[in-house]
Each structure stands twice: as C-alpha cells, then as structure tokens.
C-alpha cells in the first residue's frame, strides 16, 4: 500500500485512470478489486466509478482509527469583494437542452458550483428545473470528460489545432468554401448563429448542417403545412379549460414543459381550493407518458391511428370532412364526447400535438385550435425560436450524401454525437471516413470523436460564455461558474478560431455580438442581463397566423405481414435523453417515471402483446425494423397500446465513459430515417433472460388507503372523503411535544405531481446522496431520500396511475426514535426528526420500525468516489458525507432551515414564510411540495394542511406524520 499515501497518489490516479497499467495496478494493489472472495455479493462491480477509487476503502480502513492529520488553512491572497468565506454565491445563467435554454441560478461555494436552482424570473423556469438541469452539475466534474485536444489519439495544443483549422479555411477559400461543412445540433444561440453566418460569409459555398436526434422536424413541417410558413407555437395552460394531447408529453418533455406544468397544476389547485372550474386533460397516446398520470382520460392508440383519430376529432369539431373521414370514426367512440367537450369550451380549449407525432398531426392540431379559436388565448404562434430552422433529417441526409460522393473535404462537428445517434440507415460513420479533415468539438471523447482525426475537448456549459433562447424566444446569457476544470474550448471559440481569431475569448465574442444589438448603454444592459439571467423583453411577440388548408394523410406505416407484427415507438430516455447524459450516474440511477427502471432501457410491451409473443418480464425479444435487428429485454407496461413496442433512446453507449458504457440496449440501431419516431417492426421471443434493477416491485395498493383520489364532483359532494377510510387513534403513552418556536411541516399535492423526478435528483445534489449502481439497486439498496411511489388503479389494460412522492414523514410519534439504542435519530424542538450520522452505529432497527421505509442505509462505502478530488468539489459543504454503516434519510433540508433561522436570529426576527425552501420544493415544476412553519397560521403550508383534502398516510398507526398529502382530484368527462 505504499503507493497510497495522500494526494499525489490521487493525482496520479487521475492521470492513469485510463491506462491498462493502471487497472492492472488496481488489480494488484487493492483487495476489493482482485480478491475472489467478494464475487458478486459486494456488487460494487457494476460501478466503474467505484472500481477506480476502490483504493479509498483501504485508506478509509486505515484512517478510521488513527488520529486525524492536522488540516491546512489557505486564505486568499487578495480577497474578492463579494466573497464572504462560508457563504455561497448565486449566479444566473442558463441550461440548454437540444438548444433551448432554461434559466437557472447556480450556487457556488468558494468558487465551486455545487447546486442548480431554477431562476424564478425566467419564463422557462419560473424557479423550477427539470431533472437534466439538476444533474448537469455532476457532469461538470465528471472525470471521464475528455481533458485534452488530440489528433489521432496524440495530445496536441490549441494553437496547433487553430493553425491547422485556419489552414483548411484558407485553402477552401480558394474554392469559395466548397466542400467545407459544419455540423451542429439545434442552434438558438444568437452569437453562435452570427459566428456561423460570418463563417459562411467568408466561405460562401460552405454549408451548415444541423442534426438533433430528438429534434423537432415534425413540428416545423407541421407548422409549414398549417400556416404555410415556418412558425413555432407556445401554449398558455392558464386559459385552457379543456386540453387534448395528441401523443404529447407537455408537462415533462420539451422546452416549455416547466412553464406548462406549473400553469396546469395551478389551474387544478385553484379548482380544488378555490372552487374555480377544474381543467380537463385528455391524453391520447401511443405510449404512456409521465404527463398522462395527471390525465382525466387516457386513451391508448397505435401511432398509425393517431392521424385518423385527430382527423376524426377535427371533423367532429368543425363538422367538415377531413382527409376522407366524413362520419365520426367508429373506431374512436370517445371522439364524439371529446369533441363535444371541446366545442363547449371553444375559445378556452387547447389541442397539443406531440413533439414526435407526424407533421400531419401537428397540422391537424393547428387546424383544431383554429376551429376552436384558441389562437391568441391558449395558443400563440410566433416566429421560429431556432436561429436556422431547417428540416434536420434532410440536412443530415444531404451531408451524408455529399460525404459519400466525396464532395466534403472538411467537416467541423460542433457538439452532438452523430456517429451514435444518426439514423442507422444513413451510414453516417462510413461516409464520415471519406472526409479528409474531420474535427470534432465535444465534452467526451465519444463515438463520434473516435472517427475524427481531431478531437477538441469542449467546455461544459457552466464553464463557458455563450447565449441561448428559451421556448418563448427569451435570450439568456450563459456565464461560466468556474474556470474550465479540464481546459477546453467552447464551440463559439472554435468557430472564432476558424475565422482567424484563435485567441478570442468567449466573453469578448458574446459581448461583441450584443454590443452590436445594444450599442447605447451596453455595459448597463449587459450587467443587467447577466444579473437577471435573461435579456429583458427578448421574448418573441405572438404573430397572428391562420391555420388553414386540408391535411394529407401521412404515409401509412407499411405492415410487415409476419406474425409478431408490431409498431415500434422511439422516445428519448427519461434519464439519458438522447444519450448525452449516459455518463451521469444520477440520471442513470433515477428510477424512470412509470416503469421505475434504473440503469437500463427496455422493450416496453402491453400485457396482451407480451402474452401474444409468449414473453414475460426480463425475457428477450428480437426486434426487426427493416433490415436491422436488436435483442431487447422486455418490461411490461400497463396502458401501453396493444401491438406497440416502446424503446427509449440513449442507452447502449460504447464510449460514454466508465458509468455509461454498456447500460441497456442501443435503440438507435433500429432507428431509420424513414421511421424516426415510429416504424413497423416485428418481434419474436429469443433465448436468454435479463436482470432489471427497479426501485419498486409492487404496484398494487393492496386495498390500503395510501393514495386517496376522487373526482371533483365527488369531492364537492363529500369534501371529507379523504378522512372516511380509517379512524385515527387519539391517545398515546408518551407525552406530546410542545413547539413554541417553529413547527416545520411539508404538504404534498397529489393532484399536481407528474413524477418527473426533478425532486429526486435535486435532493441527491443538495444532500450529497451517493449513487450505488445497478447491482445494489437490484438488492434493494437505492439511496434516494425522496422516492416517487407509483401505484396503478383500475383495469390492468388501461389503469389510472398515481404518483406519490414519499420522503421522511417526520412523525410526531416516530417509531424510529425510540428504538435507536444510541439516540442517533431524535425529535427536535421544531418537530424535525433528526438523523445524526456521526452518532449512528447502524443497527438498522429504525429502518425496520419505519412504516414508510424512507430510511436509507450505507451498506457499503458508497461514497468512495467522493475521494476523487474532482468529485469532492461537487459536495455540498453544509451536509456531512456519510460513512459506510450509517443510516440516513430526509431531514427537511435541515442545513437550509438552520441557515435561515440563524440569519433571522441575527436580525432578531422570525423566519419568514417561504424563506426556507427545501431542495425538492424549490425544484418542483408543479409546486406540488410546500414546506413551511405550521405554527405560523398564515403560512402557505399551514393553510394547505387546513384543507379538507389534507390527509396523513398510515395515520392509523398513530405516527402523526408531519408530511401530509392533498388527495388527488380528477375531472373526468361524464359522457366517457
């Protein structure tokens, strides 16, 4: 163990992490890695991250008993003005996904970004973020990010690259840039677009291609069909009484989803508390979406039927025949009632096409909104948000064709990962290799970089200057939180180099661009925009466009004719999106909405279809689409339409990194240009079994009153319905507690929760919660302090799905408290059930005695990876990193409570309502969670707990939980 002493070992570890010598050395040095004793029981094997730091356990073992070495204290040399050691700073910036920005505030502790929060001022965030933005903080520190510029695997310098790039530009100048191509993902960044155009100005014949695997081609084409010109639409759910989704997932997917979810949830909440008219939501889906857990009606349809159904709906609404279907279509009995409902609320209705639905369905949706005169009320058409809206499939196909034809000699790939996610039948990779000069700018040395001579390591968004637009066009200026950890350049800087400014800094480029837009009072403008996190008044104004014309039926999905004939549906993975987050442990381990799968994707089938194919869960099916085949493990999904198989994209990466390699199966292999989102497929059972790791096995409530639901009608008739199911014991052996200061409590609104998991990851980031790896999840050892329980109710084919966030209930009479032999979990003066890690000896008695099973235990040293210096930077300094053998659980973000209380006490005042936001509450798009002081009768949470809908889970056990739920209300259509 001599090599193990102190920091320089770790430094060397980082350097050698990749090399075979290193892994061999690991094998030699560290018992956990080499010994045959541990086999699979220890199970950590699934986590490459941990393997790398396997050494630390030996270290921990040693240091456990010896005296701590004296620590150093390193002050600033010149202390920055605004820095107070020990107080975090917040910076406003943006997080972009497929080009679209969400405004975020990033917490920085002495220069290290540690937590992402939503920017309350930003229209796309309103204070919330999605699961991806939350997890992005982990990606900054990912030790697997590429850390150098390489040419054919050899380390090179930036100047070397810049020179060669400029040389290319110079030579192709002679040909007016013929054969010079740039490939980017969707671009909304004004500065980047301007730079690209500048480049095209220099090289007129050069071309700029775009490819976004989870792109919006259908939406663009649909808008063209309906409006005759490119346009984007955005929605206002606040005005929508009836919402019909045509295969959309409006609340958990897409650029505007956070705002939409917030508005819809508000409507429902107001209806529940204020007595306003409740909205109604019809979800017509080819595969169940997270949003549909809020639906009042969920109607499964084959993707091929979607158009017909939409057309039927349109003709029923407008009375006019649409593309053939004259009479109401007999196949869709619900259409009549739905149309009636829509017409009854004309002007307050809204029809949303799914991002992945065919263009024709988009067009039909626009026509429907037109017919219902929703434009200007619930729907707003604007100019496109994208800088260069093009049909990206066509754009990529053109590029590939040219590459094949040898017409491309220079290709600059800025971001994206086309070698992994381009349509499989295009043959992108083969074509790529016919290009003479191939340069790639990317975060990881991934599948695409592998085929490019040059790889330039890109800076993470939170390390670089830039800008981007939100779903409504609002511009956010992205500012760096930290010096690039591994050096690197942004796409912007690379482009600048291409046009002869190799030394240009991101900041200057962004400033220069905006200086042009705002010559007068620029500095003030720039400072304000940075401070606010967005450029005031940059949202796109609504345009009055008219949706008209008839819509052609989409090309029918060709049937394969063989038995086991299915329609396949591709969707971005709820965790990995299009694959870009594959190396993010948080997103790998977060249980996917509805399925609760972790670390995998699966072929999702309805029970009927599975029966037909003779497969059970964890069997393999061989899927065939055109020529391509893929063996995928089966996971049966209720509400999945019969004859439809859903595959999530983004898994099966080969060069993602130590965490993301080889999880799940690569659905892109089946994804052809002709069927980006749906295609005809055939399936047959094949040999072999697979083992999934799910965080929840049992989806039936067993007649226990855990999630309590009613329709608005029933609720109005019997407001007390939520309390009729059990009698609550009033007496207790123990004297109660007295709370003369604060009494913290949490209220969870089940009518609002979409199960989007944002809270789960936010909690993980805030509280230094480790990821444990697939094997440990299989053993039932996941560590998330807050989990989204999901229960099904009703018919197995198409049941109602309920989400129930469950975290520590902070019982007034906590069963855990009295059984701990060392008093490591105790009741605080403010009613918080405190888990004191450093006192815990790990008898696990508290967990056994917890009826809610919200306690989590460090069965192994799950925080090994925190010994990597780069990952220690990520940790929240206000929360202890738990040792192996210690119990942990939700503490109501006690660190935030304490800070707020101390600040208040220093000013001799009480903590104000809303001054303490728990991590889960702050991130929640639908405001489903509300935390506050129950002693303050005017507080939001106190009011909510006074509601008749408020109930406690398992109160019959006399635990008197502090966390209570607001029963779930739905508003079904009587005619259905």
């Amino acid at each position: 163990m001599k090599t193990l002493d102190g920091p320089n070992f770790w430094r060397s570890l980082e350097e050698y992490a990749e090399t075979p010598e290193f892994s061999e050395m690991l094998g030699r040095e560290f018992p956990r890695h080499a010994s045959e004793w541990d086999g699979d029981e220890d199970g950590v094997s699934r986590r490459r991250f941990l393997e790398l730091s396997g050494a630390s356990l030996a270290l921990a073992g040693l240091t456990a008993c010896v005296k701590q070495p004296r620590e150093g204290l390193v002050p600033y040399v010149k202390q920055p003005e605004d820095v107070v050691p020990g107080r975090p700073l917040f910076f406003a910036t943006g997080f972009t996904l497929s080009g679209y920005a969400t405004g975020i505030l990033v917490e920085s502790n002495t220069g290290r970004p540690t937590k992402v929060e939503g920017n309350p001022e930003h229209p796309a965030s309103l204070g919330a973020t999605d699961v991806f933005a939350q997890a992005s903080i982990l990606s900054i520190y990912d030790p697997d990010r590429s850390q150098t510029i390489t040419k054919l695997g050899q380390i090179r310098t930036w100047p070397a690259f810049a020179e060669e790039l400029q040389a290319r530009v110079k030579t192709s100048r002679a040909l007016f840039g013929d054969g010079f191509r740039v490939l980017t993902p969707t671009v909304t960044s004004p500065t980047l677009a301007a730079k690209l155009r500048e480049l095209l100005g220099v090289l007129p014949k050069a071309r700029w291609h775009q490819w976004e695997p989870a792109g919006r081609d259908a939406a663009r084409a649909g808008a063209r069909l309906a409006f005759g010109q490119p346009a984007d639409v955005r929605y206002d759910f606040a005005n929508a009484d009836v919402v019909v989704s045509l295969d959309a997932d409006p609340f958990t997917f897409g650029p505007g989803s956070l705002a939409y979810a917030r508005a819809f949830a508000r409507r429902r909440r107001d209806a529940a508390t204020g007595g306003a008219a409740p909205p109604r939501y019809y979800a017509i889906e080819s595969t169940p979406s997270a949003s549909s857990t809020l639906a009042d009606h969920r109607i499964p349809l084959k993707p091929s039927e979607l158009h017909a159904a939409a057309a039927a709906l349109l003709s029923a609404v407008s009375g006019a025949a649409v593309s053939g279907n004259a009479a109401p279509d007999a196949r869709y009995p619900w259409v009549a009632a739905c149309a009636k409902d829509l017409k009854a609320h004309a002007g307050r209705a809204l029809v949303i096409p799914g991002e992945h639905a065919p263009a024709e369905v988009h067009a039909l949706a626009h026509l429907l909104n037109e017919a219902l005169s929703s434009f200007g009320v619930t729907v707003f058409a604007t100019d496109p948000v994208e800088s260069e809206p093009v049909d990206q499939l066509a754009s990529l196909s053109a590029l590939v064709a040219d590459m094949k034809a040898g017409k491309v000699d220079t290709l600059l790939v800025l971001g994206g990962n086309p070698a992994f996610d381009a349509p499989s039948d295009l043959g992108f990779v083969e074509a790529l290799q016919r290009v003479t000069f191939r340069a790639r700018v990317g975060l990881y040395d991934d599948e695409t970089s592998q085929y490019c001579q040059w790889h330039v390591n890109e800076t993470h968004e939170l390390e670089a200057w830039g800008d981007a637009r939100a779903f409504d066009g609002t511009v956010t200026i992205l500012q760096p939180l930290i010096e690039p950890l591994y050096g690197g350049k942004s796409a912007l800087e690379v482009l600048a180099a291409a046009i002869g400014q190799p030394a240009a800094k991101g900041l200057d480029l962004v400033r220069a661009h905006w200086q042009k837009q705002h010559p007068d009072g620029f500095d003030a403008f720039f400072r304000k925009s940075l401070h606010d996190g967005f450029v005031a008044g940059s949202a796109l104004p609504p345009k009055s466009l008219q949706a008209k014309g008839t819509v052609p039926a989409p090309p029918a999905v060709p049937r394969t004719g063989i038995p086991g004939d299915l329609e396949i549906v591709f969707r971005p993975d709820p965790g990995l999106f299009d694959g870009r987050f594959a190396n993010n442990g948080w997103l790998q381990e977060v249980p996917k909405p509805l399925t609760k799968l972790t670390w995998d994707n699966a072929a999702h089938l309805s029970a009927g279809t599975a029966k037909g194919l003779g497969v059970k869960n964890e069997d393999f099916v061989r899927l065939k689409v055109g020529g391509a085949t893929l063996d995928a493990p089966v996971w049966i999904l209720p509400s999945q339409p019969d004859g439809v198989v859903t595959l999530h994209l983004g898994h099966g990466r080969t060069r993602a990194g130590r965490v993301g390699n080889g999880t799940g199966v690569n659905a892109y292999r089946l994804r052809a240009a002709a069927g980006l989102w749906t295609a005809a497929a055939s399936a047959e059972k094949t040999a072999g079994r697979y083992e999934f790791a799910t965080s929840q096995q049992h989806f039936n409530m067993e007649g226990r009153h855990l999630v309590r639901t009613a329709t608005f009608e029933e609720y109005r008739r019997d407001p007390e319905f939520a309390h009729r199911v059990e009698e609550v014991p009033k007496i207790s052996m123990y004297p109660g507690f007295k709370y003369d200061q604060h009494a913290w409590g949490l209220s969870v609104n089940l009518s609002s929760c979409t199960g989007c998991n944002a809270c789960v990851v936010a909690c993980q980031a805030e509280n230094n919660i480790p990821t444990v790896g697939k094997d440990q999840v299989r053993r039932g050892r996941e560590m998330h302090w807050i989990r989204i329980d999901r229960y099904y109710e009703g018919s197995p084919e198409n049941p109602a799905a309920h989400n129930q966030p469950v975290m520590c209930m902070h019982c007034e009479q906590a069963p855990c408290e009295l059984v701990c032999p060392v008093g490591a979990t105790t009741h605080s003066e403010e009613g918080i059930n405190e888990m004191t890690y450093n006192r815990c000896i790990g008898t696990r008695y508290c967990s056994n005695n917890c009826p809610y099973k919200v306690r989590r235990f460090n069965f192994l040293d799950y925080n090994k990876d925190k010994h990597l210096p780069v990952l220690t930077l990520l940790a929240n300094p206000n929360v202890t990193v738990r040792q192996r053998g210690v119990m942990e659980k939700c503490n109501y973000c006690i660190q935030r409570v304490n800070r707020a209380r101390m600040d208040a006490e220093k000013e001799n005042r009480r903590v104000r309502d809303g001054e303490v936001l728990t991590a889960c509450q702050q991130v929640c798009p639908t405001e489903a969670l509300v935390f506050g002081d129950l002693n303050d009768k005017t507080s939001k949470v106190a009011k909510l707990k006074a509601e008749q809908l408020d109930y406690g889970m398992l109160v019959e056990l006399n635990t008197r939980p502090r966390t209570t739920y607001l029963a779930k209300l739905t508003n079904p259509n009587k005619d259905l």
């Binding site: 929840q696 039932g780 060392v822 000896i841 099973k853 069965f859 192996r884």
Partner: protein, 461 residues
C-alpha cells in the same frame, strides 16, 4: 408413583462414590482419543471461516450480507436469537431444577451450563457484528460518562438487550465456574502430569473440600441459582421485546415474551439432547446419562413444544380476530407468500414431528430422540427466520416490498458460529469433567442408587 417401577433409574446400579469419580475423571485424564482430534479439527476450520468473514465484514461493511431496505435484519439476528435461545436450557437445568431439587439434573447440568456459555458466546458475535460501525458499537452501547457528554437511549430494546445478555453471560459463567471448583480439585489431585496439577490447581482456587468450603459452596450455588432463575425468564423476554416493541405486523404482539421463553427452552433442551446422546456414547457414560434423563428431557421438549404451538395458534387467531388488515395480510403472506414454504417447513419441524414424543416407543429410542432433537433445532432456526424476514419483507407500503436473499457470507457467518460453539465444546469435553463428579457422588451413595433418586422422581413433569 405407580409408574415408578418401570422407570429407568438416573444412575445405573452398582456405583459407589469412588467408582463414579474414577469413571468420570478418567474421561479427562486419559489419553486424547482420535475422534476428538477429527471433531475438533472440523469445528476449528469452521471457526476460521467465521474469523475470515469477520475480517471481510470489517473491511467492506454489512453490505456483504443479503440484507437491504426493507429487510434490515437477516441471518445475523436470526442466528443471534437462535443461539441465545439455545443458551437457556443450561440455566434452566442448573438453576431452576436445582431449586426444585431435581436430582436427575446432576448428570447433565455441567455440560448444559457449558453449552449455555458457548451459545451465548456465539450469540454475542452477532450482537456486535450486525451493526454498521462495529468499532463504535463496541463502546457506545454502554452507559458511562464519556467525552461526548451523552448517554445511550434507554428506551430502546436493543439497549435492554445489551444489559440482559451481558448479565446473563456473567452470571452463567460464574455459576459454572463455581460449580467446577470441587471437580477441578479432584482433577488436580488425580492428574499425573505436573502441568495438569498446576493448571487444575490454579483453577481450583485452593479448594480443599473442608467443611467450611462445602458450606460456602452450598450457599454460593444457592444464591447464584436464585440470581440465575429470573434470568431464564428475563433474557429471552427482553430479546423478544426487540420485536414486540416494534410496530411491524408480525412483531408487534404481546404474546412474544412467554412464547419466546418457551421456544428458547424448547430449543435449549433439543440442543442438550443433540449433544448428550453422542457424548454418553463415546465416553461410555450411558450409566450416568441414562434413558431416564433422555425421557425427562423429551417430556420437557414436548411440553414447551406445545406452548410454542399454542403461540403459533394465537398468532393465527389474532390475525383474524384483530380484523386489522395489515395483520391479516402479514399472516397470509407468511403462509402463502414467497417464503410460505419456510413456514410449512417450520410447522413440520416444530409442531408435527415432536408429537411423536407422545409415544413411549419413540421416547425410549435413543436414535429417534437424537433425530427429533436435531429437527427441532432446525425448526427453531426457521421460526426466527419467519418472524424476522417474512415480517420485514412486506410491511405497510407495497411500494417498498422486497425480497431477502442470503449471500454466501450470510451462510459463512452461520457455519462459523457453529464452528465457534463446537470448538469450545470440544475443548470443554476434553479438559473438564462433562459430568459433575461430586454431585454424582451424592446420588451414588451406597449400593442402591434407586433409594437415592426415587424420592425425587415424583416431581418430574
């Protein structure tokens, strides 16, 4: 008293105090037999397995076991309760039967007590090692004025456990040791080898068998018996509180203390039987551990077995009678759930098989008794598994239901603890008199042993 005639005697006829002494002390003083080495070697290897597993556990953590959330307690606690239970027979025999003047106990109490000690030792391993941070549990569980200025939490049954078990261990150890003095002295005087003389001499604490010694001895053993008696009941009652105090369906039940104590004695006697039968054979002690002892123990097993059966019955009844959905489901799950087969096995081992003991033919067949006792030991282990694991794996929220699958390390600890127990047992039978010599003497007064015991035998249950 009518049955007296055909009851086998507690000691075969024809023994005088002198011959008793010769025969028993010979066991210790003669040359070590081959089989001993074999047996000891096997158990010692098993003991090494325990040590290896412990090292492994200390390096990696309890995650090497199959436990998870919700099943936070697995084999470790099952084994703990099982061993503690086994420990009970010793104290019962030595204390309660002493107070009840059951002379027949004399020939089995010595190694029953030894068994108690070793069982408690085996159990103690799990108390400590099942915790997540053993290096802190070692001393944080004990109340003393520490530098943290905090005390343990006395409301926790685990806290009570610490006291109960440690008291139990101490008292039984002292009781056993005191009881050994006279025999150690005998061995001291009889051993040929100087080392034996010195070693036994030191242990004998200068016992000379003077009248005063005997007087003090009598007082001491009566006092200790008095002290130990309540422990027989208290210890396993406290252990049962670990579960009864919990709110889990299947744990939260007032019947636990009596039902655990009965179970403990049940398994305890089963283990005594399992040990004594081979013992009397290999040492040729059939004359001292006679059919009478085996039959009496069989009867006690039958009685306690029926109490345990009653316990099961009540659990079933309450599940239905309470009308509590959770209780009912728990019982359903126990019987028909994924671990149902274990429950049926348990009933077979603990309830059905022992009913054979009603038959005199079975009671008087050594082999039959031997097998039944082993089956009961297995059954009692299964009982603890059913109580702990099947109650935990499906409790209140279906969302957190999960299964428990033991890993090879779970088994390693179990086998290892058996290794520890038997290693100690082998050392004991080799170096100490397995039967209390001087007490046997009291029975073997004169040539008519019957006169010695018949007067007591009436009181046998």
């Amino acid at each position: 008293m009518s049955a007296e005639a055909d009851r086998p005697p507690v000691i075969a006829p024809g023994y005088s105090p002198a011959t008793v002494t010769d025969k028993i002390s010979a066991v210790v003083l003669r040359k070590t037999p081959k089989w001993w080495f074999v047996g000891f070697a096997i158990s010692f290897i098993a003991l090494q397995l325990l040590l290896i597993s412990m090292v492994k556990l200390l390096i990696l953590g309890v995650g090497i076991w199959g436990i998870n959330i919700p099943v936070g307690w697995g084999f470790a606690i099952v084994n703990f309760v099982w061993w503690i239970g086994i420990g009970h027979a010793g104290t019962l025999i030595s204390a309660i039967l002493l107070l009840l003047r059951q002379t027949w106990r004399t020939s089995i109490n010595r190694f029953a007590e030894a068994m108690t000690l070793f069982a408690v030792a085996a159990a103690a391993q799990f108390v400590l090692f099942h915790t997540g941070r053993q290096w802190l549990a070692v001393y944080w569980l004990f109340p003393y004025p520490n530098t943290m200025g905090v005390w343990p939490q006395f409301r926790s049954p685990l806290m009570w456990d610490v006291f109960a078990v440690s008291t139990y261990a101490t008292i039984s150890a002292i009781f056993w040791f005191v009881g050994l003095f006279p025999d150690l002295a005998t061995l001291r005087d009889r051993s040929k080898h100087w080392f034996g003389k010195v070693a036994y001499g030191m242990l004998a604490m200068g016992w000379r068998g003077s009248a005063r010694h005997w007087h003090n001895y009598e007082v001491a053993s009566l006092l200790l018996a008095g002290l130990a008696t309540p422990l027989v009941v208290s210890v396993h009652s406290v252990v049962s509180f670990d579960f009864a105090v919990g709110i889990l369906p299947g744990w939260h039940s007032t019947i636990f203390p009596p039902y655990f104590v009965a179970g403990a004695i049940y398994s305890g006697f089963a283990m005594v039987m399992t040990l004594s039968i081979p013992l009397r054979k290999v040492f040729g002690l059939e004359d001292f551990i006679t059919m009478r002892h085996l039959q009496n123990m069989a009867k006690i097993m039958l009685a306690t077995g029926l109490i345990v059966a009653y316990g099961y019955g009540i659990e079933l009844f309450m599940a239905w009678y309470s009308g509590n959905g959770f209780e009912t489901y728990m019982m359903k799950n126990r019987i028909f759930g994924p671990y149902g087969w274990i429950w049926f096995l348990l009933i077979l081992c603990n309830i059905l098989t022992p009913q054979l003991l009603w038959l005199r033919r079975v009671r008087s067949s050594v082999l039959g008794l031997f097998f039944i006792s082993i089956i009961v030991n297995v059954g009692m282990w299964l009982e603890r598994f059913v109580i702990i694991v099947t109650s935990l794996h499906r409790d209140f929220l279906p969302s957190s239901w999960d299964m428990f699958t033991p890993t090879r390390w779970d088994w390693a600890f179990f086998v290892g603890s058996l290794g520890l127990f038997f290693s100690l047992m082998f050392l004991f039978i080799r170096f100490l008199p397995v039967i209390s010599i001087f007490e046997m003497r009291t029975i073997a007064k004169g040539d008519d042993p019957a006169s010695a015991d018949t007067k007591d035998m009436g009181a046998v249950p």
